[in-house]
């Protein structure tokens, strides 16, 4: 009916405004530069509004996470990983060199991970989502999520241990 749709759109809009930073960071963790991350946030909002795929308003959280993750993955696929590094990132990484003993480099560590592993780590550990939620967002079953997490942590561990040995 006439009123049902605008109401849902309002909910979506409000949700995005409140959680924009979260989604920006998520996008950033994939593309690793501000411009592309902003593009992804923008694209994700457009998709969210036009797709009208939100069936249950309670599911808005995982629904929108899923859109951002998919938009990011699409972006990476298109770009085939020609990593553009902006000035801020370069500076961050350069200044990070001096105290490299204690700092683990997020960019590098995550970059070493394939996107499918990256997704589970970011969503589970950085966004503090439940295993079930991660599974729902990535359209996987819970066991696959667990396996991927395990593998991802293993890769990270090897990486960091070797870094520590340096």
């Amino acid at each position: 009916m006439l009123r049902k749709k605008p109401r849902q759109e309002e909910i979506i809009a409000e949700y995005m405004i409140q959680n924009k930073e979260r989604f920006y960071r998520l996008a950033y963790s994939y593309v690793q530069n501000p411009d592309d991350a902003l593009d992804i946030v923008q694209d994700s909002i457009h998709k969210a509004i036009t797709s009208k795929t939100l069936k249950d308003e309670k599911a808005i959280k995982s629904w929108f996470y899923r859109i951002v993750v998919n938009t990011s993955l699409d972006f990476l696929r298109r770009k085939k990983k020609v990593t553009v590094v902006d000035d801020t990132t370069i500076q961050l990484q350069m200044s990070g060199h001096q105290d490299h003993y204690t700092d683990i480099d997020l960019h590098q560590s995550l970059n070493e991970l394939l996107p499918e592993y990256r997704s589970v780590v970011v969503l589970r550990y950085f966004e503090d989502l439940k295993l079930e939620e991660v599974a729902e967002i990535l359209d996987l079953n819970v066991n696959t999520v667990k396996t991927r997490l395990y593998k991802a942590l293993k890769i990270l561990r090897v990486q960091m241990d070797s870094e520590e040995a340096k």
């Binding site: 605008p6 309002e10 405004i17 960071r25 963790s29 902003l38 509004i49 308003e57």
Partner: protein, 288 residues
């Protein structure tokens, strides 16, 4: 890998800097959907009985005050607060003033009054459904809507009045719309009606762009979106852009928040120097 390292990674993740543009990007992306047209469209089929007008209208102090402010010029055109709609439920506040004009041209009077009433109804509806949605969502939201009107110009000849709507929901968003009435001829003045042909759109747009550039040069804290690198740069006013005529007989073009500039710039206005449009105005009756 131990938890400590994971914690470290997480901290770095949380520290990913948020660029200033994020706000704008999000609002603009949402804006595309939420064009003002749809905001004010009012389905005729929807039962109109939903509004509960507060019964204390006629005795409220705000009403008395607004009565005192009513510009009365003979008995040609009067504007007054017709009704107040108030909702006060904790974090949810609505305060809507519905204005009403009185004039000799009854058809115009009725048309305007109907428009004002419907706008307020739409606002009220929107407010109520948002409040319900937020509550259903289990969120302790904040929502307030404040609307009313202000007289911009009131001369013997012209009356320009603006209706403002301020919606606050975390951040606030103000929209303004204007109506201009030729009191002597009892006519409603539209932007196209002032000019001989459509060239005014370009002429005015160019003047505005020039002013935007100049203002930005003079004051670095001012930002307008006019560069092609901006996501949605200002290129042209619309055919029926909001406007009013000020007491100096100049055309003033108004833009809503976020329409051509970041939110902190608020509602922005540009006075169009009359010599810029001199050649294309129909007559020098209104613009001098």
């Amino acid at each position: 890998m131990n938890d400590k390292k994971l914690e470290q990674l997480k901290e770095q993740y949380k520290e990913i800097p948020i660029p200033l543009e994020l706000n704008r990007v999000v609002y603009q992306a949402l804006e595309k959907r939420n064009s003002r047209k749809s905001l004010y469209r009012w389905g005729v089929g929807v039962a109109a009985a939903v509004i509960i007008f507060s019964t204390s209208i006629n005795v409220s102090s705000a009403f008395a005050k607004s009565l005192a402010d009513v510009p009365v010029v003979g008995d040609i055109v009067e504007v007054l607060t017709f009704k107040k709609i108030a909702v006060d439920k904790g974090n949810y506040q609505a305060d809507l003033d519905v204005q009403k004009v009185q004039m000799d041209n009854k058809a115009l009077e009725e048309g305007l009054n109907l428009k004002y009433l419907e706008e307020s109804k739409a606002l009220y509806e929107k407010f109520m459904s948002e409040m319900k949605a937020q509550k259903a969502f289990g969120e302790d939201g904040h929502l307030s809507v404040d609307s009313g009107f202000e007289i911009k110009t009131d001369t013997e000849q012209l009356l320009s009045m603006g209706r403002y709507v301020e919606e606050t929901q975390g951040s606030s968003m103000t929209t303004l719309q204007y109506d201009t009435i030729d009191k002597q001829n009892q006519l409603f003045v539209t932007l196209p009606s002032l000019f001989k042909n459509d060239t005014y759109i370009e002429v005015i747009s160019e003047s505005i762009k020039k002013q935007m550039k100049q203002q930005m040069e003079e004051d670095s804290s001012k930002i307008y979106w006019i560069e092609s690198s901006d996501m949605d740069p200002f290129t042209s006013i619309s055919k029926d852009q909001d406007f009013y005529i000020n007491a100096e007989h100049q055309l003033v073009i108004s833009f809503d928040e976020f329409e051509v500039a970041p939110g902190y710039m608020g509602v922005v206005e540009f006075v169009i120097p009359t010599e810029v449009v001199q050649d294309i105005v129909v007559s020098d009756e209104y613009l001098k």
